[in-house]
């Protein structure tokens, strides 16, 4: 493998039902940052059927170039034709870095493609940088510059590891949704668009999609909320979540919760913040009656401002809170809602 041949930062621009997800824009935002020290281009790989019209949107969010793989076989996500598409793009265009969202699609596509093109893959990254490997010069070891340094939590968020892929290309990572920042779209931006079709011949690995069942849900995506009012087991009952909903309404936020609440059946899984739920980084995160298990903290500690209310002063949530109140949430939360409403009325 001649590593020098591999150039450019590529992102897999995930679309479902011909709609780009936030993850595509988040990856582009990160790719722009990584491309700077490497002095290279950002390429979005768009895979689907009748998706070419999405290229402009990718340009507005930072793609210099869009490679479109468009084929009827790619209408609905299936591992095989998608893996064939992405692996063919990698073999043809030889990216230095290939980023994929750590979504239910990306965590299936990423490992399949990385094994096919025989390179390493680092899962669920929360931080990506360009730097030296090894990090510090080591005697007898060649220092490689301009490597992708991929940082991820492991052991349920108890440890973090920084990983490099020094001898194989592309350097591949899946990236947790909600962690990287997208850029403000540049309206009217255009990218070079390349259409590429490697040919699709069904084989034993093509499965048949018999049914697509969308979950009927009017729930909002908590990853998009500016303010989250999050409740834990300490809230006491599903009915008592009403005081959190009232507070969320007063501050213009949404309600989310911890894993314990989902396990108890009080709230749907879509609302769960944490290692096995969603990663969020709102402007304000209220942790109410949440003890702050490490798996929960892993999903919210990047929030700009964390306010914790808990009656147990030893609760670990206070270790990450910017502002903590030791007190009874049943008394404090309704009072707080009332005062916020008054403060707004007086403005």
């Amino acid at each position: 493998m001649n590593l020098e041949e591999y150039k450019g930062v590529f992102v897999f621009a995930q679309q479902v039902d011909n709609e780009l997800g936030n993850i595509a824009f988040e990856l582009l935002g990160k790719a722009r940052e990584l491309a700077q020290p490497l002095n290279t281009q950002v390429t979005a790989v768009l895979v689907g059927y009748k998706v070419k019209n999405l290229a402009d949107q990718l340009a507005e969010y930072g793609a210099d170039r869009v490679i479109v793989v468009d084929d009827p076989e790619l209408e609905v996500y299936r591992t095989e034709p998608y893996a064939h598409a992405l692996a063919a793009v990698i073999n043809e265009y030889k990216p230095e870095i290939m980023l994929v969202g750590a979504t239910a699609i990306g965590r299936d596509l990423g490992p399949t493609v990385s094994a096919r093109v025989a390179t390493g893959l680092t899962a669920d990254c929360t931080k990506l940088d360009i730097g030296d490997f090894p990090l510090q010069p080591k005697e007898g070891v060649e220092t490689k510059h301009n490597q992708l340094l991929m940082t991820r939590p492991a052991f349920g968020g108890n440890t973090i590891a920084t990983i490099a892929c020094p001898n194989n290309r592309p350097q591949m990572a899946t990236v947790r949704p909600g962690v990287m920042q997208k850029i403000d779209p540049i309206s009217g931006a255009k990218a070079e668009v390349i259409e590429f079709n490697p040919g699709f011949t069904p084989n034993n690995r093509y499965v048949e999609v018999e049914e697509v069942v969308r979950k009927v849900s009017d729930v909002v995506d908590i990853q998009n909320a500016k303010i989250l009012v999050s409740g834990g087991r300490g809230v006491g009952s599903p009915e008592n979540f009403q005081i959190l909903r009232d507070l969320a309404k007063a501050v213009g936020g949404e309600v989310s919760c911890s894993r314990a609440v989902v396990d108890s059946g009080w709230m749907p899984k879509d609302m769960q913040v944490g290692q096995t739920g969603k990663t969020v980084r709102p402007q304000v995160y209220f942790a109410i009656g949440i003890s702050g298990a490490i798996q929960h903290v892993a999903g919210m500690e990047e929030s700009d401002y964390i306010i914790a209310i808990n009656k147990d002063e030893d609760a670990p949530i206070f270790d990450v809170a910017d502002y903590g109140i030791v007190g009874d949430l049943n008394k404090v939360v309704p009072k707080l809602t009332q005062m916020i409403n008054e403060a707004k009325a007086n403005k």
């Binding site: 996500y77 591992t79 095989e80 979504t103 239910a104 965590r107 299936d108 490992p111 399949t112 094994a115 025989a118 390493g120 893959l121 680092t122 899962a123 492991a154 052991f155 349920g156 108890n158 440890t159 973090i160 590891a161 920084t162 990983i163 490099a164 194989n168 034993n204 690995r205 499965v207 999609v209 018999e210 697509v212 069942v213 969308r214 303010i227 007063a250 501050v251 290692q275 402007q283 304000v284 903290v297 892993a298 500690e301 401002y305 964390i306 306010i307 209310i309 002063e313 270790d319 990450v320 903590g324 109140i325 030791v326 007190g327 009874d328 008394k331 404090v332 009072k335 005062m339 916020i340």
Partner: protein, 261 residues
């Protein structure tokens, strides 16, 4: 039907995470368990065995003490157990691990391979799809429901906001979610039998069609540059002695100060 279930012994990260005085993870003090998603995969295999009749082989790669999870699997109802263990396999990343396991599975007859979606120590979800890739099999990740229909399976595949019902021809590989089912307990008879059961032990020489350059630490494309305990930002201001009014007032003032309201 012949089913191979891949399982892993992992430290239990949920309950007691133990640290050494120097702040590193104390693995010796942590309980070693069968990875939850793998256990759900095993349960799914045992249900297929109950329903349709099947021979269930469990396979793990690890240190000799991983025999514990194989015995647990036998006590739950698995028929055969294989331990893949060898010094040269240590320090493997997901590429080298999946290469190793695929090399072991090439010795077996199978219709279906089930792995867990991900292990709770690494949380990568990569080894299952990568095994399928090495063996040239169709893979369905995040499996919720499995029905047998002759040589085919109908499988529910979960996504964030939907599921797909997929029809796949065996042989194939599925990755199981711990939400798939409630794994059964070991039976007293099963535990009794498992103690005496033979566990097949394979080393490097037993792996089929595998190059040394793809094994162990040396054969892993990804390299750890740094591993450390999570550095958390320091605690902010904690207020203990306010009544509800005072606490609500204090928070409201903070929100006003930050122009949130």
């Amino acid at each position: 039907m012949k089913i191979v279930v891949c399982i892993k012994q992992v430290p239990d990260t949920k309950g007691g995470v133990a640290f050494n005085p120097d702040g590193t993870l104390n693995r010796a003090a942590m309980l070693a368990i069968m990875n939850p998603d793998d256990k759900a995969g095993l349960e799914a295999a045992l249900r297929l065995k109950d329903q349709y009749g099947a021979e269930v082989t469990v396979l793990t790669m690890g240190l000799p003490k991983a025999t514990d999870v194989l015995q647990e699997a036998l006590a739950m109802g698995a028929d055969k157990a294989i331990l893949v263990t060898d010094r040269v396999l240590g320090g493997a990343d997901t590429w080298a691990t999946s290469t190793t396991i695929a090399g072991a599975i090439r010795n077996l007859d199978y219709d279906l391979i089930i792995t867990g979606r991900q292990a709770i120590d690494g949380d990568t979800a990569q080894v299952g799809p990568q095994i399928a890739e090495h063996l040239g099999l169709p893979v369905i990740s995040y499996t919720q429901d499995i029905k047998v229909d002759g040589d085919y399976l109908h499988v529910q595949r979960q996504f964030e906001d939907r599921y797909h019902v997929l029809k796949v021809k065996m042989p194939c590989l599925l990755t199981a979610l711990s939400e798939l089912n409630e794994p059964r307990y070991m039976t007293p008879k099963g535990i009794w039998d498992a103690v005496d059961a033979d566990i097949t032990v394979w080393g490097r020489k037993d792996l089929k069609d595998v190059d040394d350059c793809n094994l162990g630490l040396a054969g892993s494309p990804t390299k750890i540059a740094k591993a450390s305990d999570k550095v958390r930002k320091g605690a902010g201001e904690i207020v203990k002695d306010l009544d509800a009014d005072g606490a609500a007032r204090a928070i409201t003032d903070k929100l006003l100060e930050k122009h949130i309201i």
